[in-house]
Every structure is written in C-alpha cells, then in structure tokens.
Symmetry: C2
Subunit: 322 residues, 2 copies
C-alpha cells in the first residue's frame, strides 16, 4: 500500500481528537459495542500492533528482506502481489511455512519504469486495466480512471484464485497503492470480494474522515482496524528512526497496523526503483533496518505493545460469517 | 538459446570434416555460389564472428552485464526476451542506443523455479502455451509437445509487435532454449515469421546434420551461418577460459556465432537460477568475465578474427527480399 490517501490519513491521525470521536462516525452494530481489542480477547487498554510488510512477490530483494524480517519476529504479517514475477518464490515459502501470516496485496498498478508486470487475466479480457504497452497502469488514479469495474473485479478474483492454486492460503486482503480505496465503486468491490472469500481486509477508522463513502458500505461482519501508521515522503531519511519511535511511544490502545516496505538496497532493487526515491531502494533498506533492530524490539517491550497478526482478525470474520 | 540441440551441435562441429561437406548437404541456390563471407564483402578466408549475448530482459543482472559487455566492444550483438519483466529496461537502452545490435530471443518457455513469466498475449488466446499455473512451460520439449502452432505463431508475432511498440528495431530473430528448432512445424513457422518481418534468423549449417528437415524449408533468401560456438554443461568451470580459447584458436574461415549468457552472480541472479547450475548465476558470471577480458581481446586480434553484427547479415536479406 502506498499512495496519496495515506499521506492524508497519517496527517488526520495526528489531528483527530480521539479514536472514539472517529469511531462515533459509524452507526455501530451490536456486535461492535465491545471495542476491537476486547472482541479479540484483550483488555480495553491493550495496544495491539500488526507490523505489516507490503509488496511481497515484486522483487527477490523484497522477498528476501521480508522473509528475514518475518523470521526476526518483529514483523508479524505481510501481503503478496500475485501478478509479479517473483510470486513463485514467495508462494514456495508460504507453502513451507503455513504458520506465516500472508495476505494478498491486490494489484492493479505496475509503477516502476524499467521493470513491469501485467494482469493475471489476459489482456483481451481486461483491456481497461492496461496501458498502451500492455502493462497495468503505473498510477492508482490512472488505473481507477480507466478501469471497467467488472474487469477489475474479474482480475482481483483471478489473483486470489492464482494465489490459492500456488498453495497460498491468504489471511487478509489489501490494495497495492490504495487503488481499491480510490472511490466508492472500487471500495464496494473490495468489500464484496472479501466477503465472498470470507476474508478480512485492510480498512481503518481514521480513513472515514476523508473517505466518507466507506462506513455505509461496511456491514456488521466487517472488522475495522483502529488506525494505520505509514511513513511518508515528508519524513527525512535521517528522521526514520525518530518517526517510528514517536509512533510507538504515542501508540494508543486499540489495533494499529504499521505498514512497512522492506527490501535490500541492492542492484536489483536500485534498478527496479530507479528514478523513484519515494518507496525506493534506500527507503526500503531503512524500513528493514528499523523493523529488525533491537531498538524496535525494546520499544515494543517498554511500551507494552503486543504484536498480532491478521489471523486473529480473521477469526472475528469467521464468527460473524460462519 | 540453451538446450539439448546445442549439446549435440557442438559435438557435431568437432567431428564434421569440413564446412564445405556440410554446405554440400543443401541444394544451393545461385545467390549462394559465393560463400557467406564473400557475400558480406570479405575475402574467402576471413574469420568473422558474432559474439552474441542471449536472454536480455530476463533480469536486471543480465541486462547490466550484457550492456557492459556490449560497451566493451567484445560482444557485438544480443537478443531480447519480450515477455520478461525487465524488458522495459533494455528497451529504454535500445531506444537511446539505436546503433546497438539487438534481435529478439523469441520466448515460449519460462524455465526458472522461483521467478516466472507468461506470454504477451492473454492466456485466453494462447491456452496451449501455458502450464497449470498460467506461465509458459518450463522446458522447450514440454512447450513444443503442448502447443497449438497457430497460438505459438500469434504469440511470436505479438512479441515482435510489442518490441516495436517499445521502440526496439530488431536486427534478427532467434529462439530461447531452441524451442523453435524443436521440429519441422515450429521451424517452418520461424522461417515464415522471419520472412514476413524481413529479418534474418539464427540458423547454422552444422545443425542440418541433426535437423535434416531444415534445409528444404529454407528459400534462397535465407542466410545460413557457417557455425555456432556454445559452451555446454560438459565443460568444467575451471576449463571455461580454455574452452573459449581453443574455439577461437581453431576458428575456421566463415561466419561463426558464439552464443554467451551474461550476468553478474549477484543475489537476484542467484535467486532466479537457484536449483540450476547449468546456465546459472556462476555460469553467466564466468561467461561475462571471459568475454570482457583482455585475454579474449588479444585472442581475437592474434587469430585475425573480425567481429561483425547481425546488421551486416540483415543487409543480405534486404537485398534478397527488397
């Protein structure tokens, strides 16, 4: 997940008076009179965190760094881009590590200049998803502007099917570059596809302030996380550790997802992200360095932050939709 | 190009009594009463060599190493795999280096375990080219056994079209892993597609001993190279330099193509080729090290070997088919 929406939402997190105020924007169904942490079996003041790596499958460097971080125990979850060429590598890992918490990072964009991918479905079936060169559009707003929603839905469902064919049992869904949060029709489709697959998906209370179309599309079976942490281009490289440290120190009770983009700043990743410093090779190396550091481990411990996975969230969905 | 055919052809080269003997197997049209070197404007005893890098577009490591080798002047030509994800990188290079000699390495296989690609055409149009996971078949014989020839031809033509859309002006055609040399029907298709595109394609006199179906399919407009050098798995890593040295020292007059597979043995290439030592990361590093060495430069000079490109061969095709 990357994109403009989250530049805004992080800002909103900082100005929002309280989680309760935002929570109050939805008409709450009975099953949610308990807070999300309580529904998960924790005391009301528990600080639960999903540390989530995005973009697996996109590059060998990203797979290697993400696997190393997952195995450090400090990253608890990740999501996979099915149309990308390194999918078979992460699928092999998922098959041999069935305990790992992998979702699908549903992908309707191909954003790098020198290294690109197309849809899972053939271009004859999903012409509206493709740029002039036959790849997925580079940007989320271009993708959203051109797409036929039926084609997008067919492609998303095909991505889920291919993941399952390769032995990935996804625990959750989210959207690469936030394309599926670009508007009501797209978000409605994500809700529908997630429901049909009995899977939770990434959606967070504080987004509703900007995306007012969201709450009315969510039934009582949908689990909404309390908030999202996502570092953005306005943070200087030298402030990386400071940003994350402040976020952990000021973490409020509830379920927060911290989205990170992991990779090694090697030749492959530098080549792939050339021309993009945002979410580029050095960015991903900084994220990797921080989330696998003893500083991060100590911060989580000292601030009583407990890591959880999407698997726990998924159980609530199963209860609501048996 | 990789594959069984060439294990055999290299052996054949060593036992063939002379180029003339093989040449005699074809009924020669009038335009070929001159030798190929003479038609190219060189004296009959000239030793002409195309040093050709295969598999461009397959990985960033392969692109980087091949570009470096081309720029050393010791590799004269290369061919590009259009369905691969790093195509845009090499296409950008081709656009900015219109003098570089790039052909298309027509691709109907996706042979690595952890990193794979599909066809340019959608899977609904070319179902016979795809394995159970929706990628091109791993092996050339599997691909050949399953394919509908009309689908294969449509895919090959789509690869040429996509290359041109991206600004690549191919100088020649050849076939990744030799799939299009797997039998009469496939080879006939290659001849047809090359003719329609007014392009020369890789075919070599000494292949005819094994592939007896070939000569009758070649019209007078087809240029047949005199021989091929291609290192094979029976050469031990420590004998790499010795193999190439012997080949250059014993080079006979005529046009020879020396096929090399270049890459850096970095994390990307090790990941991509994991489980394959043949044509793997270390193999490609050894090829790179040799063809960019001063030893190779000196050998070419001392043995009066002149490097040429496919562009010169292509002019003969244009003359024959104005």
């Amino acid at each position: 997940m990357r994109g403009k929406l989250f530049v805004v939402t992080v800002t909103l997190m900082l100005v929002a008076s309280s989680a309760t105020a935002l929570h109050g924007r939805r008409s709450l169904p009975k099953s949610q009179t308990k807070t999300l942490v309580e529904r998960l079996g924790y005391p009301r003041d528990a600080k639960l965190l999903i540390v989530h790596a995005d973009d697996l499958g996109a590059a060998h460097s990203i797979n290697s760094a993400s696997i190393k971080a997952l195995e450090s125990g400090l990253v608890s979850s990740a999501s996979i881009m099915v149309p990308c060429p390194w999918l078979p590598e992460i699928a092999a890992y998922a098959r041999s590590h069935p305990e790992a918490d992998f979702g699908l990072h549903l992908t309707l964009t191909s954003e790098w200049n020198l290294y690109r991918w197309g849809p899972v479905l053939g271009k004859e079936l999903v012409p509206s998803l493709l740029d002039a060169n036959g790849y997925l559009y580079p940007l989320e707003n271009e993708a959203a502007a051109h797409m036929d929603i039926k084609e997008a839905e067919a492609e998303i469902r095909a991505q889920i099917a291919r993941a399952r064919t390769l032995g990935i049992q996804p625990t959750h869904l989210d959207s690469h570059m936030g394309t599926l949060y670009e508007g009501k029709t797209l978000f409605e489709m994500l809700v529908r596809v997630a429901r049909d697959n009995k899977l939770p998906f990434r959606v967070s209370q504080e987004w509703f302030t900007r995306a007012s179309f969201m709450p009315s599309l969510l039934g009582p079976d949908v689990v909404v996380l309390d908030r999202t942490i996502s570092i953005e281009p306005n943070v200087a490289p030298e402030d990386w550790s400071k940003f994350y440290t402040n976020e952990i120190k000021s973490l409020r009770p509830g379920v927060t997802v911290m989205i990170v983009h992991l990779g090694f700043a090697d030749e492959e990743l530098k080549g792939m992200t050339s021309g993009h410093s945002n979410w580029g090779a050095e960015w991903r190396q900084r994220d990797f360095d921080f989330v696998t550091s003893e500083v991060f481990r100590k911060l989580l411990k000292e601030n009583n932050v407990k890591l959880i996975t999407w698997r726990e969230i998924g159980k609530l969905v199963t209860v609501a939709r048996p």
